[in-house]
Symmetry: C2
Subunit: 385 residues, 2 copies
């Protein structure tokens, strides 16, 4: 097992009717900015529950945070929050609203000339306004970590940042808030969470059997609950199990002491930035090719994953690995998530453009062995055409 | 799944040479009290590593905290710490030292007449001195939770308390510190951690498959690594895996949204209080009888546990349950942990004494169904004779 540091102070309030707990979680004298996305929370009752729980406080709101939240949009929220002297922000939505809010609270206190530097130049976050979340879309795990991914629309750049100061103070997870989600978002959420686990698990063994089994626990549960969630998104227990899997997939618990990959995410971000393909779908495109391309260095974990999660135990090692990757692809496709670039009408020219951008940015040494270079990215993407 | 709140802000620093991190984790101007037990840390080099890392700070020490730490001993530490105006406490040791330190930091700030009320009367902890830990004995999980169990030697009473203020600020887990542990303590630690998991798992199903699988992950890993740890306590990876299992067994992660039992612990505490039997051994005595006695209400989980952890899948339900309990007993016995009261020369008169004490204390409604009464405790203990 590798040395590690683990720290996650996010308080989770999980279950039915937990939104009412906002009353005790946010100081009574707080000036609150409520952030949200496209407005679905106004149709499904979540907005009303939130406002009822905040009653008595000074509340202002900022809606319209888009998927893959834009720096340009978020800076408007920063200006509004500063003007209104907000001292607590409440994100109500999915990963995009929460990621966007992490940037808002950091940018509100940023003293440099341009808050974009937090992303592009990794300028350190020295202070941030406290915030909490009400999660309505299980997927990214952002509700229980300190990471954030933001897109600059102008340049189509998608960058990440994180800081111990951008952990939510609390996150409220009420599975009933997911009942009105479109099937497309549920499928995306399942594939996103599933891939988060694989990025932290499908690397190489370091004698960490508990972490392996915990990762497999999430994979097995998503495999079981995912199709049920798509089928019947108003079944409480199904949605509760899916929701908790998505949180556990990226709250740091399964990654302690083990290597992680993240090349699939790094490459996938470009497909979202250039073509607006849903984040989870970019992962489903890149991952199978990456696993095939790196199957030699990932061999032991691929065999273990195939055996323990998909029951693949017949054939040569190569055959078992291929069967395992095919089972993974079939799982994604069963959720109606397409897995090739052609499915999204993206061709060779995008591969070239990503290579060009990576060259410009000097990208190198991706993956758990830091051995994925730009030429490898080109091959992986070509395999996904 | 049941509603739940999860909160655990303990920072974990895990791995080789992590004790040096004390230098950055404890403020440079802190007045530090270092607490420890019987002094083994002075023989195995841990004390020297700690003192080197604390160099430059005002450091005082309090040794001699016994197993099942005594209120009487701890109050001496409280007086010393107050006199010396200590503002940070560092526990170096196992669960007893850490539990004791939680009481010390709460008692230092307690404003009532008698700090024993924190335990006996559940007087609320309103303030506590910050503390950290250096764990040297994997077992109780105390390094990553806020709970504490303290014994009053005078009256042979063993009570627990906990507060959000008694989470360690950090815990350092260096598996190398366990290399010189006596085999007896390693065996105890394995059984303690294993039973912690069973107390949170062997109840009744509430459709929480991820929590079930995570609990089973710890059980399977302890089953695998435990015998290796006893055999070769200087194998780094083995001790690292055991150490992380023990922490994960009681840091709250596996208990979210599920019922818990804890009757085995409640009854076992009496055996330690009356006869000084090692805590883990009391669990190994009580648990098998409790499982047999409550096998009807625990049936579904017992069958699942038997199948997934011990591969028991042949025979009638009753046969499978008995085989599962026998496999658990055999596991404990394989670690040289005896499982009957007779093994410890304890007889019927102790059963009567525990019944008398429970009657005096008005104990009732133990277990996940709150259906274990004093007469049931008597039957369970009688089955363990």
């Amino acid at each position: 097992m590798n040395n590690f540091t683990f720290y996650n102070p996010v308080k989770i309030l999980f279950g039915k009717a937990q939104i009412a707990a906002l009353t005790s979680e946010i100081p009574a004298d707080a000036k609150v900015l409520v952030t949200y996305g496209g407005g679905s929370i106004k149709k499904n009752g979540v907005y009303d529950q939130v406002m009822a729980a905040l009653s008595g406080r000074t509340v202002t709101e900022f809606g319209g945070i888009e998927p893959n939240p834009h720096y340009e949009t978020l800076m408007k929220a920063v200006n509004q929050a500063k003007q209104e002297q907000v001292n607590f922000v409440l994100a109500v939505g999915g990963g995009s609203v929460i990621d966007g809010t992490k940037f808002i609270v950091a940018a509100m206190e940023y003293e440099g000339a341009d808050a974009w530097d937090i992303l592009a130049k990794k300028a350190p976050v020295k202070k941030a306004v406290p915030f909490g979340t009400v999660l309505t879309l299980p997927a990214t795990g952002s509700e229980m970590n300190s990471g954030s991914v933001i897109t600059k629309a102008e340049t189509k750049e998608k960058f990440s940042f994180g800081s111990p100061l951008t952990f939510p103070k609390f996150s409220i997870l009420d599975p009933e808030t997911t009942y009105t989600l479109p099937v497309r978002q549920i499928s995306n959420g399942i594939v996103d969470a599933y891939t988060h686990v694989l990025e932290q698990y499908l690397t190489y063994p370091v004698n960490a059997p508990l972490q392996d089994r915990m990762a497999e626990s999430i994979l097995l549960t998503l495999k079981e609950e995912g199709p049920k969630a798509v089928e019947n998104p108003q079944d409480y227990d199904t949605m509760a199990n899916f929701m908790w899997c998505a949180t556990m997939a990226l709250n740091g618990v399964i990654r302690v002491g083990v290597p992680t990959d993240w090349a699939t995410h790094y490459i996938g971000h470009e497909l979202t930035a250039l073509h607006g393909i849903d984040h989870a779908r970019t992962l489903a495109i890149v991952l199978p090719s990456l696993l095939r391309y790196k199957q030699e260095t990932k061999k032991e974990k691929l065999l273990q994953y195939g055996q323990r999660v998909w029951g693949v135990d017949a054939g040569t090692e190569d055959e078992r690995i291929e069967a395992t990757i095919q089972a993974t692809v079939a799982f994604f496709e069963s959720l109606d998530i397409k897995t090739t670039l052609a499915d999204y009408e993206v061709g060779q020219e995008t591969v070239k453009e990503i290579v060009r951008r990576f060259e410009e940015r000097g990208v190198k040494n991706l993956g758990e062995h830091a051995d994925i270079q730009i030429k490898d990215v080109e091959e992986i993407l070509t395999m996904s055409l």
